[in-house]
């Protein structure tokens, strides 16, 4: 796991210390940080990600993308209408909703102006609601639960797609791929992680698969973390499904795939939906397992020149170009756009500006940005498959055709 540069971010402790230096102390009791006003003119964006714990890698990738965006925006003049630069305030949710929420509370009282987060929908739900107490804008970077945008909260926004439409598109695509091969596959087993992300997505998938005539033989839930998939592999083997559908976070995604391969569990395809571990890192490190796996997920537009440029740039720093990077990048761009068009730090003004955003999706394969209840209706996810190309395993977009770079290989060869 590569370390991400944190040159442009400050931690919450530093923020408090900075503020303490310039403001009146509320009480005479020493050692206790007091409630203080932010001193500098910058627009402070709180980052709520799992910097430690089982999801430390995606957390670091999110931070990387967000800080890159702040760098780029500041280099282009920052928030010109305010004459202010963006500043990242890094927080650690430790992967837990209650900690994410309390980080938001602390940052809010220390003068942070907006938030991005949280990788996990579970944390996003709690953290964005905490931010709602102060009406502070919260831009969800990665987090697909539609509950995030369905609570009637005026401060929550999301550039990326939610599981409602993602699951519809995923099932459509699976049906297309299946039909294209003569419809050999009829049954599926879904394996999902137990929190809001996995459970919500699995529920929708199960319903939509059944609607289009699939037999959903089992929906298997597992905890975070799970480091032993022997039993689940055994269960899957006994069910004999044609397609295995994982919906989980990186560690478990990879271990499940590995276990299925080692246990020689037979199936026609692995078609994950929002598989947290499907990325260039996985393809690089475990090609023999990744080959022919299909994932339906956030992904960049492979035809975009800017995307290729950004990918080179990230890889030059020794990091992988995973979806957390560019989703958080866009999340920050959204916030910056909101502050710019509002011309103010006032939460109501910023939230209103965000609600009417038409931000250019840049490197994403989206339609034009249009916010409805905080959800960007232009967002789409795509299907990607790990295929050999020029002797190396690469991720090819196989759907939708407008962005596709290869044909699907289905079923996977014996």
């Amino acid at each position: 796991m590569k370390k991400s540069p944190s040159s442009s971010g400050i931690t919450r402790r530093q923020l408090l210390a900075q503020s303490a230096a310039g403001a009146a102390v509320a009480t005479g009791i020493t050692g206790f940080p007091a409630i203080l006003k932010a001193q500098s003119n910058s627009v402070k964006i709180g980052f709520i990600h799992p910097a430690s714990g089982g999801l430390a890698y995606p957390g670091a990738q999110s931070r990387l993308g967000g800080q890159m965006a702040i760098e780029d925006i500041n280099a282009a003049g920052g928030i010109k209408s305010l004459g202010a630069k963006l500043e990242a305030v890094l927080g650690d949710s430790q992967g837990k909703p209650e900690i994410g929420a309390s980080e938001v509370e602390k940052m809010a009282s220390a003068g942070v102006h907006a938030f991005t987060g949280c990788y996990q929908s579970a944390v996003g739900l709690a953290a964005s609601q905490a931010a709602a107490k102060y009406n502070l804008p919260f831009s969800i970077d990665v987090g697909v639960s539609d509950t995030l945008v369905n609570r009637g909260l005026k401060n929550v926004f999301r550039m990326a797609d939610g599981y409602g439409r993602i699951t519809s598109d995923a099932v459509d695509n699976l049906n297309q791929i299946n039909q294209g091969a003569g419809s050999p596959a009829k049954s599926a087993v879904i394996v999902h992680e137990e929190s809001e992300f996995g459970t919500g997505t699995a529920r929708l998938l199960s319903g939509k698969l059944k609607e289009s005539g699939w037999e959903v033989k089992d929906v298997i839930k597992h905890a975070n973390p799970t480091r032993n998939f022997d039993n689940i592999a055994l269960r899957i083997r006994s069910m004999k499904p044609d397609v295995v559908i994982p919906v989980n976070y990186p560690g478990e995604y990879i271990l499940l795939a590995q276990t299925l391969k080692q246990q020689r569990v037979p199936f026609m395809a692995s078609y994950s939906v929002l598989g947290g571990g499907f990325n260039f890192k996985f393809l690089d490190e475990k090609p023999e397992i990744a080959e022919h796996m299909i994932d339906f997920n956030h992904w960049y537009d492979p035809t975009s020149a800017k995307a290729k440029e950004m990918r080179k740039r990230v890889e030059a720093t020794g990091n992988y170009f995973t979806f957390e990077v560019y989703c958080t990048y866009n999340s920050i761009r959204l916030l910056a756009d909101g502050f710019e068009r509002a011309g103010s730090k006032d939460p109501d003004a910023v939230n209103a500006a965000l609600a009417s955003s038409t931000l250019d999706p840049l490197i994403m394969p989206y339609g034009p940005t249009k916010m409805v209840n905080g959800q960007n209706m232009g967002a789409r996810a795509v299907a990607i498959q790990a295929q050999m190309s020029g002797g190396k395993l690469d991720a090819q977009v196989i759907y939708p055709t407008a962005f596709a770079s290869a044909q699907p290989i289905f079923p996977r060869p014996a």
Binding site: T11, A126, Q129
Partner: protein, 318 residues
């Protein structure tokens, strides 16, 4: 002597009631909320462990039951959380009765009792993580609607007065323990259960009552948590961390005393704040706390209160 004590208590209560106005800072009032909250939970453990001598390692059972009861009633059935609080307290007492009945009927004491409470808490966690109506692994998110009637407040002060009330009630109960025959019998059971039985004390009934009171208070703490943080899941509600916290504040403060849990809670959260201010990484405050626990067991069995008392005594004698 009695009236002096009563006077000090009265002053104490007035002080606590006036505290938010004296502190005048959301952060500090929030700190006070946490201290009183931990003290209340500690008192729950203290009644069963400190006074009745039954060391529970699974007191989170009551906490989680209260939290889930009020949250499920609120989110799934639209029932007002204040009512959910009362139902939760009853459920907490019921769970206490359930665990108590099985454990005490079958004669489990000492370490065996501690172990079985641990097992029950774990079993509840697994069940909460499995069944639909608790939200399983998703947990329960309580929707934001900050109105006092909805047991949510826009400022810390509202929560402060609620938890102060809980704290005062649990403290009053503990004070009564110290001055009634019921309490005296509990302490007799703590000192030597067989002797107490031989002397005619119905140890089973007394222990059952103690665990039920402990259950009710713990459950109230659970509902408070749910309304304060607006999120619970099986790990928060039935995880072992909370059990450890409940017993730590009691023992470090001084188990078997009325104000031990308060002193212990104040120490815990002070150490927490200091550690968090100087260190980014979590964990160090509990390391310190754990070391203090070991030192207290070894050298100061009466806890921090014992330390204060002996200093006072030395001062009196001087």
């Amino acid at each position: 002597m009695r009236s002096v004590k009563l006077q000090t208590l009265g002053v104490g209560v007035v002080f606590l009631v006036a505290l938010p106005w004296l502190l005048d800072s959301e952060f500090l009032i929030g700190f006070a909320v946490l201290v009183l909250y931990s003290a209340t939970l500690g008192q729950s453990w203290n009644i069963l462990g400190g006074y009745a001598g039954q060391f529970s390692f699974g007191s989170v059972l009551f906490f989680g039951t209260g939290a889930y009861t009020s949250s499920i009633l609120h989110v799934t059935y639209g029932i007002n959380p204040w009512i959910g609080l009362l139902v939760g307290v009853v459920m907490g007492m019921a769970v206490g009765a359930f665990v108590g009945f099985l454990s005490f009927r079958f004669g489990l004491r000492g370490s065996y009792f501690a172990l079985i409470t641990l097992a029950f808490a774990e079993a509840f966690r697994i069940l909460a993580n499995t069944v639909e109506f608790t939200g399983a692994g998703i947990g329960i998110y309580i929707p934001l609607r900050q109105e006092p009637a909805n047991f949510q407040f826009t400022s810390q002060m509202g929560f402060y007065y609620v938890i102060l009330a809980f704290f005062l009630i649990s403290t009053y109960i503990t004070l009564r323990l110290e001055h009634t025959r019921f309490g005296a019998r509990l302490m007799a059971i703590r000192e030597n259960e067989d002797a107490a039985e031989a002397l005619g004390v119905n140890t089973f009934r007394h222990k059952m009552l103690a665990i039920m009171i402990s259950g009710g208070i713990g459950a109230a703490g659970g509902t408070f948590y749910a309304q304060y943080y607006l999120y619970i899941d099986p790990y928060i509600a039935y995880g072992v961390e909370k059990s450890v916290e409940m017993l730590l504040v009691s023992i470090i403060g001084g188990m078997g005393t009325v104000f031990g849990p308060l002193v212990g809670a104040f120490a815990l959260h002070s150490i927490n704040e200091i550690a968090r201010h100087y260190l980014e990484a979590p964990g160090m405050s509990l390391v310190v706390y754990g070391v203090i626990l070991v030192l207290i067991i070894g050298f100061l069995p009466d806890g921090l209160i014992g330390l204060l008392k002996s200093k006072k005594k030395a001062g009196d004698d001087a």
